[in-house]
């Protein structure tokens, strides 16, 4: 099942990328439908090609956050109400995430990443994220936190919870959003 979940996430990611290209000349919802269709064909039909094996090796573990963000963006284009992240929210996240990565690289004397192996810590982290979502009135973060916890508990994908809710690809994504808001 871990492999199936991985292929599903890959299909969403590829579909999102293809949609990005198609949307230059094709309007929604056709660009989204076509993008996801191409993503699914690639993820399940061309999975054993060198290119896709390479993508999985380079980007994995993919986790939940990137595919959910991709689905969220596509849902927004289709008219589903999506609450955007605040600029301050994104800046605080970016700073905290960079500290987290710096600690994992040994640049800071803190071992935050290892808390993601421990069920008690993970329980607290998930509830804290849900509480934040409740305060902000946002469904996305609680949905992300709990779906990631489900996969983590089932043993699908990484044995570290942080790998399910974070991905280094978030850094360029957040930076692009912030820069776009400036200009």
């Amino acid at each position: 099942m871990s492999a199936l979940a991985g292929n599903l996430w890959l299909a969403v990611l590829l579909g999102w990328a293809v949609w990005g290209v198609l949307s230059l000349g094709l309007s929604a919802p056709w660009s989204i439908v076509a993008g996801l269709a191409v993503g699914a064909v690639c993820a399940f039909g061309l999975r054993e090609t060198l290119a896709l094996r390479g993508i999985v090796a380079v980007l994995g573990p993919i986790g939940v956050v990137i595919p959910l963000l991709a689905l969220r963006q596509m849902a927004g284009v289709l008219g589903v109400p999506v609450q955007p992240f605040g600029t301050v929210e994104l800046l605080v996240f970016l700073a905290a995430y960079l500290v987290f990565l710096a600690a994992a690289m040994g640049a800071l004397p803190a071992e935050i990443y290892r808390l993601g192996y421990a069920p008690l810590w993970v329980a607290g982290i998930v509830l804290a994220i849900c509480a934040y979502g409740l305060w902000q009135g946002s469904i996305f973060l609680p949905a992300l936190a709990v779906s990631a916890q489900l996969l983590w508990v089932l043993g699908w994908g990484s044995s570290n919870y942080f790998d399910h809710i974070l991905h280094v690809g978030l850094i360029p994504a957040v930076l692009i959003v912030l820069v776009a808001r400036v200009f």
């Binding site: 690289m105 998930v126 043993g155």
Partner: protein, 366 residues
Amino acid sequence: MGFVQVFILAAMAVSVGLSAWAIRRDAPLEWRFAPAPFVDLERAAEFTTVLDYTAPTGQAHSPAIDLSGPLPRVIWFEGSEEAKADVDIFASDLTESDGWLSSAPQRVLTRGGLTESFASTELVVTLGNTIEDEGRGGLYATVVSVGGWAMASVAEMHEGAARKLNLSPLLNRSFLVKSPMVAYAGGTWGLPAYFEMGSAYGALVRFGQDGRVRDMRRIPGPQKGIQPMIVPLDATRAVAILRDFDSGAGRLLISRTMDGGQSWTVMEDAGVANPSAPVAALNLGDGRILMVVNDDAGNGGVLRLTLSGDGGESWDVLHTLEEGGEDARYPMMRILEDGRIMLTYSVGAKGGIRAHVFSARWAVGT
């Protein structure tokens, strides 16, 4: 109360249920080391070279000892050059009858085979340091899919199935293995590993009952201590001897634990010269530590067998194993079932593999 609030409260209720499940099935880790394996201190002095292999072309390096099968086996990586896309894992089985015989080296783990073995197949470009998974009987291999060693991951290979250990949030990159595992009471194991990107550091990885990574404890310090060789001294005390990845340092590093590896002292100078090369070490069973080390900071061709009777505070040279040739590095020592010691390392500046079997009496001389 609106839909959003109801949805989030329901999600929190689901989370509490998932947490209860996860916490209930989680077994606390055992942090007491297992007793040291039996070393026959009474056996007559003996020393035999059991493998002397020269790679026909290219490089053969970083040998390890695999004792999981009926015969002791030396495994190493070999290809045109370290980190190139033609490197596979080779092995030679060792048999003792009237004397020692070594089988012709054969491929036991290939890049293509490992690629196919992942549940979700992923590209493996090259292979590096590979050691025995002493807990489950497979292998831990250092694998690279893109870039160099700083982009490596550790793959577990067990009964034909492979998966990567989840050790880093940086795309699971930059962790490698080199030294043998550490046995804990109750039959669980710890894996010495190291992070090689930027501020490099050593770490002890622990596994849960399902064989997945359950914890990791860092060996702290401002130096770049990698390739930790962890030697338990009793149930709770151990030393970790590390290579300083800063090649200009010229010294080995040492750290200690008093709580079974849960916490480690800040690394300090071990008082031994070293050309930024890993060591092999083991507990002789009576608290003395036997260590194979390159102890000439300017010459990786000097390899010596040394002994510490004070828990790693000081070291006495027992034998010079290699001197005057090209680099002889990356030693590994393991204790055989009959209480003798097997040692292997690469020779000829990664040009071949040498292995010896010797008794403790030969080593310490009494």
